[in-house]
Subunit: 130 residues, 2 copies
């Protein structure tokens, strides 16, 4: 059956796996979030990244509020069957809710997390708050 | 104190965070494993990736058996403080225990996980099994 590939994935005790999103052109790692079976199936059906929000306990269609949708270019599985890698086109070039390209915008330098990139857009502008 | 940066990380209920390893030159995502505080401190001290093996419940000095050490080029933290990204030089050009460059060597195509890269070396040769 067509769901064999879904069952080959080793979902954790909460029914989730980590999903890494990577820019399909630059290979920059944009973010890591979590997926359950439903979100992964929808990701493929809708050809855009759809995660499971652990904090909100609901499906998270990446970009649903911000417009920063991630369109799908490829899905990969690791050797242990427990991590997913997505190659995506990041619409708006902003993956992070802080307005930055990538969520990994702090680097450890001399025992401190130092910001190495700036927001391209103000989060208040992204989320249309007044 | 110098450990402030460690405590800024949101360790999960098991005291772990996911750590993504990325090739510092090509940006290829090589693998994802887990770290605890001790492994992250050692990673910085020894300037090589040291993970926490959940299956073996012990420190895993990446390359300790295979020689495929990951030397450290940078450590990054995501916006939620709960995912680490490492930029590494992958010695031997093989991150995966199957002998491949990356652990993400299967792509979903027509509802099947299809191998898209081949081993550069036989695992039996890597791990010196007779």
């Amino acid at each position: 059956m067509s769901i064999t590939w879904l069952n080959q994935i080793k979902w954790n005790e909460d029914g989730l796996v980590p999903a890494i999103a990577q820019d399909f052109q630059t290979n920059e790692v944009l973010m890591m979030a979590w997926m359950n079976k439903a979100s992964l199936e929808l990701t493929i059906k809708e050809q855009r990244a759809i995660y499971w929000s652990r904090s909100r306990q609901k499906l998270w269609r990446k970009g649903e509020e911000s417009g920063h949708v991630q369109t799908l270019h490829g899905i990969y599985l690791d050797c242990d069957n427990d991590v997913i890698l997505l190659k995506v086109e990041q619409l708006g070039k902003i993956a992070c809710h802080t307005g930055r390209i990538s969520c990994f915008y702090r680097e450890l330098k001399d025992n401190q997390w130092v910001e190495i990139s700036s927001p391209l857009k103000n989060p208040e502008e992204i989320y249309h708050k007044s």
